[in-house]
């Protein structure tokens, strides 16, 4: 937890300076653009506080019947609905989903979408859940990177210790 926060502060602290995911270094998740009004509290505040806020408002709705809340899970996808290259809405099963892009990056898993829908009302999710695209990874950092790395290693002559270290970097 503390480590995640540290990484977050580092990553998003810089992102706040306006370099989010755009410098090509692959250090930042490429957060899909939203529609509608931005949050008055600002992006930085929401990155940090959305987990607490969601749980807080969840209890307000569930227990007190209060439905005029700041963070309603069903409202998120009114503005944060993402479509993939094929033009289909990305459910939480799809790595391109707004929440997934970040969560995959920081290794967070939530179970919310076992029950809650992760697309706007009216979208047929049953067709979309079947196929899952891995999140778009920067080149060389995707799921195939171990294989690519091992292939690179194999090309290095065994005798040369120096070259071995170099390839390992």
């Amino acid at each position: 937890m503390a480590r995640i926060l540290l990484i977050l502060t580092l990553v998003f602290g810089m992102a706040g300076a306006g370099t989010a995911g755009e410098d090509g270094s692959g250090l930042w998740p490429d957060i899909p653009k939203a529609t509608g009004e931005p949050h008055p509290e600002g992006n930085e505040w929401w990155r940090k506080n959305h987990p607490k806020l969601l749980l807080h408002d969840r209890d307000l709705t569930m227990r007190q019947g209060e439905r005029q809340v700041q963070a309603s899970l069903k409202s998120c996808f009114e503005c944060h609905a993402v479509k993939d290259e094929a033009g289909n809405y990305a459910t939480y099963e799809n790595g391109q989903n707004f929440c997934r892009v970040c969560h995959d990056f920081v290794a967070v898993k939530v179970d919310c979408f076992m029950c809650h829908r992760s697309t706007p009302d009216g979208v047929d999710e049953s067709a979309l859940e079947a196929f899952t695209t891995p999140p778009a990874m920067p080149k060389g950092r995707g799921p195939d990177s171990i294989i690519a790395y091992l292939e690179r290693l194999e090309r290095v002559p065994l005798a040369s210790a120096d070259a071995g270290t170099e390839a390992g970097q």
Binding site: Q64, R67, V69, C115, R117
Partner: protein, 254 residues
């Protein structure tokens, strides 16, 4: 089933309980306020008009003589509204509301009526729940907080009305207002998402649309509501009145 056994004692209890709940609500508002400020919640008391009100007790009055044995409009409406359906596994499929046929063995009189969560004042499901997931809102609606339900199903055993279901399969395409997923228990919510926004439950709406008007919805604590007037004037019974649970759902002409 004998008539009206629990009617008189209930009324007396209702009064003192009402006062108790009122004071309880005041405390809840007080303790809630700092949390709300902390989370920078921007709502005013006027915005909160829809929240659960301890001054109310929502209930249903079902006139069995008006219920058509061939009609299941209430069941269909509930399925459409809340996104559950017949999946072809009768032993395990969810049933938030079902049509039940009763036959009096002595007289041969046969009646049909809908049975759902009876929204008991003293709900056995809440008593047995080990996590606090089963709970009763201040306005009398009994719910499962699926966020803390561990799927133990004690509540299903405890419920004398067989009103609760367990979700056995993975689900997609839920309604945003009725999230449901594998491993938790669920039941009729009295369409709490509708009630909170000033609308009547789907089953009541559907029954009214058929012209049968067998189900009446209203506030049992408001003496001037249609439902209160009717239960005051005509005889109605609680199912399993012997258990003294004082359900919010009552039946007349049964």
């Amino acid at each position: 089933m004998s008539c009206d056994r629990s009617d008189k004692p209930e009324r007396g209890a209702e009064l003192s309980r009402r006062d108790l709940l009122r004071s309880g609500a005041a405390v809840a508002t007080l303790t809630l306020a700092p949390g709300v400020t902390l989370m920078a919640f921007g709502g005013s008391p006027a915005d909160a008009a829809g929240r659960a009100d301890a001054g109310k007790r929502w209930g249903l009055l079902i006139d069995v003589s008006r219920c058509d044995p061939d009609c299941d409009a209430c069941v269909t409406a509930c399925q459409v509204e809340n996104g559950w359906k017949d999946e072809g596994n009768p032993e395990t499929d969810a049933q938030w509301i079902r049509k039940v046929t009763l036959k009096n063995r002595d007289t041969g009189r046969k009646v049909s009526m809908p049975v759902m969560c009876q929204h008991c004042e003293k709900p056995p499901c809440v008593d047995v729940c080990p996590t606090g997931a089963s709970f009763k809102r201040v306005d009398g609606i009994v719910l499962v907080d699926k966020h803390i339900c561990i799927g133990c199903r004690y509540c299903m055993m405890a419920c004398p009305f067989k009103a609760r279901s367990f979700i056995h399969e993975k689900h997609v395409n839920q309604k945003s207002w009725a999230p449901r997923g594998k491993g938790t228990v669920e039941s009729c919510t009295l369409c709490v998402h509708r009630v909170d926004t000033g609308r009547i439950p789907a089953c009541v709406e559907a029954c009214e649309a058929t012209g049968n008007r067998a189900i009446i919805f209203g506030d049992l604590k408001d003496p001037n509501s249609e439902i209160s007037k009717r239960v005051a004037e005509y005889s109605s019974i609680a199912l399993r009145a012997d258990l003294d649970l004082n359900p919010g759902v009552r039946y007349s002409n049964l």
